[in-house]
Amino acid sequence: MTGPAPAVRWPRLVSGRGRFIADLAVRGMRDVAFVRSPFAHADIVSVDGTAARAVPGIDAVFTHDDLAPFVQPFRGTHALFEDLVAPEQTALAKSRVRHVGEPVALVIGPDRAVCEDAAELVEVDYAPRPAIAGPEAAIAEGAPAIHEAAPDNAALTMHAGTDAVDEAFAEADVVVEATFAFARHTGVPLEPRGLIAAFDPSDRSLTVHHSHQCPAAMQQAFATLLGLDAHRVTVICPDVGGAFGIKQQLYADELAVVAASVRLGQPLRFLADRLESMASDIQARHHIIKGRLGAARDGTLLAIDVDDILAIGPYSQYPRTSLGEGRAMLSCTAAPYRVGAVRARSRAVFTNLGMAGHYRGVGHPIATAVTEGLLDKAARALKTDPVALRQKNLWPQETGPNTTALGTTFEALPYGPCLDALNAAIPSQSLEAWRDSVRAEGLLAGFGHAVFVEMTSRGPAFYGDGRVDVSTRDGCFIRLEPSGAVRVSASVTEQGQGVETAVAQVVAHTLGVPLDAVAILTGDTAVTTHGGGTWASRSLAAGGHAAWQAATQLKTEIVQIAGVLLQAAPKTLDVKDGAVVDRADGRVRMALAELAATCHFRPHHLPDGRQPALEAVASFGPFDAPFRAGCGVQLCAVTIDPDTGIVRVVRHAVAHDCGVVANPLFVDGQLKGGIAQGLGAALTEQLLYDEDAQLLSGSLAEYKMPMAPEMPDIEIIHAGGDERMDEDAPPRFVGVGEAGTAGAPAAVQNAINDALAPRAAELFEMPATPERVLAALNRRASV
């Protein structure tokens, strides 16, 4: 039942019959447009909507004061980080705007075009203030404070590791250092954000169709902030056109639309356009990091020290905060390696750039690029083979679980076997021969490896103990229909990764029915259990486990009933391919349809008088470890034209382990898609702001993502062995959605530096644009 089945939604998606938010309609629905701040930082002196309200067809123009009675302000706090400065945020800006694109007024009318016409007539008088446009500006001497509560613009400083690192550096034969700079990114799901909010004042019920990953979290947030009964709030996520973490949290503009629907008692639709997406979608990855590594002459890693400044936006993102990247930095830095001592500091600083939160890989790509970049630089200094240096220092699988020098415990992970598998498939010697041949033609060429670890499927300790009401569990409800087929509802959510289908596959496999006999529904809080949805590559690890559990329970009931009907001991029976069979010889004893019809229509014929339920439900979230870890190695080979600075990726491969591969089509899809985003990060993608924090990259022409011609065919090696689902034990599913983005930028960076090495140049800034590559070639290496 497991295997490369296409996703259950794909037939309609290839037929133009998708059900995205913009494809839906609710009778009486009105459209909206926002008036957004054109300034990065300004006081709002006055807002006048008189002219806008006079536009024919316009229903309302709302400002902060109009919605304030209907919706509470909010703050992205976390109980485990009491020092976090989490300033209050409001659905519409109250008296001050703090980033370009912050919503100031909401215009409601018959269609988007008329609303935009009216929005242009809303007169807002701003008194601009100096703005903070990046990490250095935020901590500069005398920098203006964005919030009074954070005079130095620091939201939170986190530490891990110990000062023993200073002594360890003193022992080192070789010390290398580099300053890493990462550009600000956003996820760019091709379907922009959107929702339809419909409040019914007659019973105070709210239904929101929402392009989102976490409907249960939004149900919770809407109920809390709007003062509604949570059990009368329903959030439905229909087809969602990509998400990548961008559709994981609460947005002020979306909350404003819901509050306006409550105020008006009318369905309202908001569809973000691309410009407002670039300004207001969650942004990420904007770090400057000083890193240092010390090693003994024999290659033993002795010390690593990293100091990170992360530029978040002007507020702490609600509800999950903007700390995720820094936290991941503190867990993932050097995690694959046994290092004598490691110290890490991450400072999250407020800026007047867009809101910052979680984007696929959350901090992993940064930690990996820093660790692996330092490792390769050390290999060059030691004149040793970088693969051998890694093999020498990786945690052996046999000794796991291992607690890293930064204090995070990882289960036994096959770093070494992944590196061996990659090296066996693509030996360094063959890459060296290729590199020599390209160099002979006058181009620069290089290749690089990057070992990554991936923390997936977080348990409840972080958000739960942080008093952040976000579920880390997922549930699965299964019922046997009279036809013998099953209906499943699951709290995992689908944005293209295929998890919905994978859960159906787990049910089919475990229960013993064909995949075609399973209908699955996800993304509806009225129907599914309260669960996490999709984030941090958790869906199959949590939701697949729950599906296995529920299917096992239902199968137990089926076999018991079959035992009664067939006068056989239940333990002698099994369910296979939609029929009750004899466990010993596989002989069909009874079609599932026959058993189901008996139970549904003629239950009084059951000899033991039982009332069959024919349904089962289970929820699961990991308690045994803070997360499920996966790992792997990526390899990238590049050529660089020294005249133009253009980097071309000619080869990219990954060897990885993610436990049981439920559906290789989806696992490969996650890896390839993640790597593509990682290559974009390394080479082209950057949100550009000027020194006044004015957004310069408001279109997809300026925010350059990878396109088909420059993408290589990505080679994938499943190095985790041929692990299968066992009938009697929970399947070991590990997430794989972050893996691609976690490792790809580091591998590209290392390949570029391998290519630049003969010219004594190096580059630790991303993206490696032609301008930066040429500057690096002119600058030459610092050591």
């Binding site: 939604r9 037929s15 133009g16 494809d23 269609d111 996820g187 379907e191 056109g241 593509a676 997809l700």
Partner: protein, 160 residues
């Protein structure tokens, strides 16, 4: 806003309508005709999600005014499959994971159909070049190239 009359043939059916002079073709298809298979990914002609065929030529429906479709033919994703029967390309996209979220897929399929109509046996490089104006954020493109290559092979077999 001025309204203009419009006669246009969409997926083989000729129809008349009155549209706002400033309405784009993609809004006309989606909002007036309820042909919501054509998606808007950027609204400024970069992503290719709204690709339709306009007198047989692939265009960005977000950059064309509906009024300019007067007397023209427009083909959309809804015209690619009849009564649930998928084309070779649609089937190949499913078999090879040539889509994930499906948002770019209608544009990709229109462009792929156009490619194979002109060049029934494209190389992988030619396929990649043909998709140079289509953004997919999910797949990394390789599986889409695989799908188009497989469909070309299937169509060649079917034709022989």
């Amino acid at each position: 806003m001025r309204n203009v009359p419009l006669t246009v043939t969409v997926n083989g059916r000729t129809l008349t309508a009155t549209v706002s002079a400033r309405m784009t073709l993609v809004d006309f298809l989606r909002d007036t005709l309820d042909l919501t298979g054509t998606h808007i990914g950027c609204g400024h002609g970069v992503c290719g999600a709204c690709t339709v065929r306009f007198d047989g030529v692939p265009v960005r429906a977000c950059l064309i005014l509906a009024a300019s479709a007067e007397g023209r033919t427009v083909d959309t994703i809804e015209g690619l499959s009849q009564a649930g029967h998928l084309s070779d390309l649609q089937a190949a996209f499913m078999a090879h994971g040539g889509l994930q979220c499906g948002y770019c897929t209608p544009g990709m399929l229109l462009m792929a159909h156009d490619l194979l109509a002109d060049n029934p046996h494209p190389s992988r490089e030619e396929i990649r070049q043909a998709l140079a104006g289509q953004i997919c954020r999910c797949t990394g493109y390789g599986p889409i190239v695989d799908a188009i290559e497989a469909a070309a092979n299937a169509m060649a077999k079917g034709a022989s």
